[in-house]
Assembly symmetry: C2
Homo-oligomer: 331 residues x 2
């Protein structure tokens, strides 16, 4: 089934639910995704301010096993979003119901575990294109269907979604005004969750997981610069007011930071000190911080005593994160 | 299986989970309930203040189909509880796993729908004693096991749990410092949910659903005054500093208000104007307000434009309710 365009040129959106919350509306919609070749649900909160004008858009990416429901029902974010006048969008975490063999066998691979990459391997590559979905298709749909300012968007997320938020921001300098994360998977090429997901979606050649290919945007055709070419070119285009650089392929935040060519990025990360996945070596924030320090990229990393990986941790600090984004989005 | 007492004289509690949230701890415990003859779970939030001293206790009663999880994961109450230093207890809504024929047949009767009454009818009367559980057994357990001040307790709830909170407060004048409710079932003897539940748990004689029997507490043996006796006695004991009155049997808030003998009670009710169960005639707040007005019992009733019956409605106003209770509990 393909997308249906309405008479007003919008992609067809089916409203699943609408609930008033803190003066605004928490809605859930379903649509046919081109990137993912399946029906997808996403949640969107429209603050009271959206009744009378365009608002900035803040995207939330959830963690393993989640749907669009977890964040909207458990994080307690509505009051801050209402007060700061932010539209907040929370997509599902993977394609669903694609009838791919093995899609429901693991809780950390396949359904509910899209890992925000564009799969290159069979049988996943037809549907599992969550990177392009959250970075391109979904914002286009939101920008044309809701009262949002397309120039003002930011991104944040939790765990696998924290990884997703970091790579979206790092691969697209300037696209997002700010980024933050709760307990993100910071260095997936070195942790069990990441190795499993990347092997399945991207193949077993680990160089492909972290190889950075620069794309220059702003010339007639986007042009690729590989590491084998003169990296001086990167510096040239980085300082050009007429061009921008995108980094493709790599999906590891720590490796992306090492090659980050971009404009200023203010990163906020909260991490529970008693998070079992921190001690299990799934998150590896130290590697990310070391890379940021080396590249002089400012990152505020708060290790929160006694907190774990749950939504109780997220709820405690969600207002801080929304304030962090509002500082840039409402500037 | 009976209750096991530990060496410190406490009933055995099994901790199911513990998560730090807003500086305090959100915990869930399981125990063997004497009243209900089954294992029961309850949630308890211990604010930071509970680390160093006793705090007031605020009981939350949930609605149909809920467990102890709904309120603690969806209402966003933790910040206000943390700031006001309140211990908040949220029990499950019914006995579970009692193997009573038909207990799982309806979503609005049996499991998840205890209705906060003490059943008198077979096969329910052995287990379905939620009124005594939430009003007596659970507070006793909480008072002996956690740092709470037994003299300072209040109660609130949602829908079926709003009904539960109102009847607990109205049947036990002076026991609860304050009461509030979200979209409570105010007059169950006249609504489909209430008629179904009361018929099943209390039998089909509707007089039993609303008959008020006063008990005088404070004399050698609690003494019963029925309506057939001189109601002047009620007035006598009501004004006595040495006695208090309890109202037994009746489980309908509107009828209880009409006979309320008690001390001052400040009631706060929030009701969504777009609540489908309001238009379906399940909640009937007008009847309750009329009875309060007639009896000059102060009730703040806020009809909230655009809000429905969901936790998005509760989350929006939960801080107001906790502030309402804190005013009395921290006085």
């Amino acid at each position: 089934m393909r997308l249906i365009f309405t008479t007003r040129g919008r992609m067809a959106l089916k409203q699943i639910s609408s609930n008033k919350c803190f003066g605004g509306l928490q809605k859930v919609f379903e649509h046919d995704s081109i990137e993912l070749n399946c029906k997808m649900k996403f949640a969107i909160y429209l603050p009271p301010k959206a009744e009378t004008g365009k608002c900035p858009a803040l995207y939330w990416l959830s963690g393993l096993t989640c749907t669009e429901q977890n964040f909207i029902s458990k994080s307690g974010y509505h009051q801050a979003a209402s007060e700061h006048g932010l539209v907040i969008i929370a997509p599902d975490t993977s394609p669903r119901g694609c009838n791919i063999k093995g899609e429901d066998e693991s809780w950390d691979f396949g359904t509910g575990a899209g890992f925000y990459v564009d799969a290159t391997e069979d049988p996943w590559k037809t549907n599992y294109r969550m990177y392009s979905y959250v970075m391109k298709e979904l914002p286009q749909l939101i920008n044309t269907s809701f009262p949002v300012d397309p120039q003002k968007m930011s991104i944040f997320g939790h765990s696998m979604g924290g990884h997703g938020a970091l790579i979206c921001a790092l691969k697209n300098p300037g696209k997002y005004k700010s980024v933050s994360a709760f307990a993100p998977i910071c260095n997936p090429v070195l942790c069990p969750w990441g190795k499993k997901a990347f092997s399945g979606y991207l193949g077993t050649d680990q160089n492909k997981w972290k190889a950075v290919v620069y794309f220059i945007v702003g010339i007639r055709r986007p042009c690729r610069i590989t590491k084998s070419q003169d990296l001086g070119l990167v510096g040239l285009y980085r300082s050009s007011p007429f061009h921008s650089l995108k980094m493709k392929k790599a999906y590891d935040a720590t490796h992306l930071v090492k090659s980050y060519p971009g404009s200023q990025l203010d990163i906020l990360i909260d991490q529970g000190k008693d998070d079992q996945f921190l001690s299990d070596g799934q998150l590896l924030p130290d590697n990310f911080i070391a890379a940021c320090t080396e590249k002089k990229i400012p990152v505020v990393f708060r290790l929160q005593e006694g907190y774990d990986h749950s939504y109780y941790f997220i709820a405690t600090f969600i207002t801080d994160h929304i304030r962090h984004h509002a500082k840039y989005l409402n500037a």
